[in-house]
Structures are given as C-alpha cells and as structure tokens.
C-alpha cells in the first residue's frame, strides 16, 4: 500500500480520493480469503483503523466512511462471487465494534498502547465474550465469575458461547460477575489474551450463517489476569457492554447492506438473462415488481444505516437509534432476500446463486447483537414508553 491509497492521507468524506480508495476495497473483497491472510490484507487497507481517531493512530475517517467501506466490501464480494466473505466482514465488524471500540472508550493509556496498534494492523484479532448458555438476552444472569486474587489480580471461571472470532482470536474481552448482588454494578470487563493459562477455545460451532464468520465456545478455568486487565474499572462491565452494543447494533449490518446491493445487481442480471415463454423474465410485471420492491428495501436500509453513521460522527448516536438501525436493516435484509429468492424460483435452492446463503445470513441478522425483541424493547424505551 502506498500512503496515497490510504484514507489516512486525505479527508475521506465524499472525495474523489475516497471513491478511488473504495475501488481498492472492492478489489480486495473480490479475492480475499476468509482467513487470517484476508484479515491482515484488509487491515493493510486500513479497514480496521478507519473509525479510530488519528490521535490514536487510526485513519480518522469516521463512522460514515467506515460504513461505506464495509458496504463496498460486501457488494464487491458478492459481485465477484466471493459469497463467503459476507460473514467474514461481519466477523471483522464484530472485532471492530465489540472489542476495539470499547478498548478505545474505556482503556487506559497502557491498555490502548498494549493492544490497539496491533488490532488496527490486523495482528491481533479481538472477540467479545458476553453470551452464555443461560444468559443471552438476559445477560445479567451470567454465571462467569471473576474473584480477586491475593496478588492484585483476578481469577476468572466460566463458559462463554457464540463468541464470534473465538477460533482465531488473540484477545478476548470477557464480561464476568465480580460481585454477587444482582445489579448492573456487579459486572466487570476483562482483557484476556488467548495465551492465558486456563483459557481454552472449543471447536468452531457449526452455523449456517453468516458464512465465513467463525464462532466457538470459550472456557475459562482459573484464568488469572492482572489488575490492569480490568477494562473501565471494577463494576464497569455493563457500561462496556452498552458501549459495545451501541456501536455493534448501529454498524454491524454495514457489510450486509453491501451484500443486499450486490445480490440485487446479480438478480437483475439473472432476470435479464433467463427466458421463459419466449422472453426474458425481466419483462414480466410480476418479476419487475419483485425487483423494484428489493430496490426499495435496499434504499431504506442504506438510508437508515448512513443517517445513523452520520449521527454517530456528530456524537449523537444513542441506544435507541442504534437498536432502531439494527432492527430496521435486519428487516429490510430479510425482506430483500425473500423477494430476490422469488425471482430465481427453484434455482433459489442452488448455492451457486448465492440465495441460500443470503437467506441464512439475513436470518442470522435477526438474532446477533440482540434479538428483534430486544431491539424493540430498547426503541420503545427511547420513545418514553
């Protein structure tokens, strides 16, 4: 990479240079493998440094530019037939919003210096361990415990499930209970390196979507960390969780919006090519209506996502807006997927069309970062209900 091809070298907001840089992102997405080589080459493009302020060593591009980049990557992957990259971009986003962003907001100078440069450079992959078997939406019922040791540190025990990036992560941000009373002050967050004795990662959980994302169970058996591993201080776990979720809910679906755009283009091409009853199916009103509907779903998703990113750049992103964005884009994603499937008919069952994966990815989007029901609850509270 030359300096001129990095967003660090220019103001990325809507400039020709930014558009040129996005071409590089699109090309990367077309060939990147969903493994650590792809992770590092994406990081070399500054994908993981985009929203981080220049004063912190990042590209300082802001949230809107970051979303545009991940949208472009998602679209580029689909148009190149790199169908499994959608989930890989989701995994990169999980690293970005649920691990790196809380580190930025809550980390001490020492904590940020220890991890942030390598996280932005793609040398350290982050994973967020919050969910447990008995603590999904009801996160406050988590059973993972951290107790103080005699040597000014903490000892962690528990099992985390559905930890995105766990199979490859170098650093885990783990939520644990540090006191027994059932209130939000009882949670704390810890930065736990993969190399910590007692930390083990199970084999990758088999999931049908998002493709390319890898998730696993993480077990903590008498894992000892120092006092400096506590992020935000004792009792700040809920605040860390809320910060991670606010950003994750707002932006985790940026790659999916790109997938939507790419799949719409692919399906339009399919409708032009495929003939029935002697003429292209694109000439039938029923097919055209489905594609127009899909275009409406895409536009609605793009508009809300980008408006939310713009509000975040103005430091005006609240929990309700983040939840609204997640719920809205997820609904549009599912609606578009179903409309496009109808255009393919029986061919929608064939993996090469990309439709089965799209539908699985869309289905998954209803559940990660909080279910639709949780988003609805948060939005309702934001309305004062």
């Amino acid at each position: 990479m030359t300096l001129q091809s990095s967003p660090r070298a220019f103001d990325p907001s809507g400039t020709e240079e930014f558009a040129h840089w996005l071409d590089g992102v699109r090309a990367w997405a077309g060939t990147a493998a969903p493994d650590m080589s792809g992770w590092r080459s994406g990081a070399a493009l500054d994908l993981l440094a985009l929203p981080v302020a220049r004063g912190e060593g990042g590209a300082g591009a802001g949230f809107l530019a970051t979303c545009r980049a991940f949208e472009t990557a998602g679209e580029g992957a689909v148009l190149s037939g790199n169908n499994v990259l959608g989930g890989f971009l989701f995994a990169m986003s999980a690293h970005l919003w649920a691990c790196q962003e809380p580190l930025l907001a809550f980390g001490t100078d020492e904590q940020r210096a220890a991890y942030l440069p390598d996280m932005m450079a793609g040398k350290v992959c982050g994973a967020f361990g919050a969910t447990e078997d008995g603590a999904g939406s009801d996160v406050m019922s988590m059973r993972t415990r951290a107790v103080r040791t005699d040597t000014e540190g903490w000892c962690l025990n528990g099992v985390k499930t559905f930890v995105t990036n766990a199979p490859t992560a170098d650093l885990f941000l783990v939520l644990a209970r540090t006191s027994e009373h059932d209130s939000y002050g009882s949670l704390s967050a810890f930065l736990v390196p993969r190399s910590s004795p007692g930390l083990s990662v199970g084999s990758a959980t088999e999931i049908v979507g998002p493709a390319g994302a890898r998730t696993a169970v993480v077990r903590l058996a008498d894992v000892t960390v120092g006092e400096q591993a506590c992020l935000g201080g004792e009792g700040a776990g809920f605040a860390v969780l809320m910060h991670a979720m606010r950003h994750e809910r707002a932006f985790i679906l940026a790659p999916a919006v790109g997938l939507m755009a790419g799949m719409l283009r692919r399906t339009v091409e399919h409708a032009r090519r495929r003939s029935q009853f002697g003429r292209p199916i694109a000439t039938y009103d029923a097919v055209r209506e489905r594609l127009v509907d899909a275009a409406l779903h895409l536009a609605a998703a793009q508009d809300v996502l980008r408006a939310t990113a713009g509000s975040a750049d103005l430091d005006e992103l609240d929990q309700a807006r983040a939840a609204l964005t997640k719920l809205h884009v997820s609904r549009e994603f599912n609606a578009l997927s179903n409309r496009l499937a109808d255009v393919y008919g029986g061919y929608a069952m064939m993996p090469d069309t990309g439709i089965p994966q799209l539908i699985h990815d869309a289905l998954a989007s209803r559940f990660y970062s909080g279910t639709d029901d949780m988003q609805t609850k948060i939005i309702a509270e934001g309305l004062g209900l």
């Binding site: 907001a105 406050m140 929990q319 948060i378 509270e381």
Partner: protein, 81 residues
C-alpha cells in the same frame, strides 16, 4: 439538605418512572439495594438525557454515578447541570 434547582426533581421523577415502587430518599442506595437493575439504569439515563438535554456517555454509565439520587445530582453537576 440539597437545594432543589429543578434538576433534583427531574432525577427523582426519572427514578420513580423506572422504579415505580421506590419509596426511599435521595440517599437510598439504588444499585446495591437493587432498586434499579441494568435496564432501569438505561431508562433513567435516557430520561435524564431527554429532560436535561445533556448527553450521558456509555463510559459514564458507572454504578458510582447512579448509586443514589444524590450521586446522580453530583454526577450531573460535573456536566454543568
């Protein structure tokens, strides 16, 4: 005795809205006595933001800032309220 400049009233209303059964005073420990759980704290924070026009950052959603009505008043004072 803290003089109510209007902010205290907003805080008390926010706490009562989030925990209608609350019958303590300004010094009651809302977190350790489980008057406010995690979602209730979010409700209180959201209401304070809306009513007072002051943004509350995630990093400020700490137990010490919401420990009691008096603690919230002191916290908001640091934000110019």
């Amino acid at each position: 005795m803290t003089v109510d400049d209007g902010v205290l009233t907003v805080i008390r209303e926010a706490v009562h809205k989030a925990a209608p059964a609350f019958d303590g005073d300004d010094e009651t420990q809302l977190i350790t006595q489980q008057v406010l759980d995690s979602l209730a704290v979010l409700k209180v924070a959201s209401r304070l933001e809306n009513q007072l026009g002051v943004p509350i950052r995630d990093a400020e959603l700490l137990p010490r800032n919401f420990a009691s009505i008096s603690a919230m008043r002191a916290f908001l004072a640091t934000k110019g309220c």
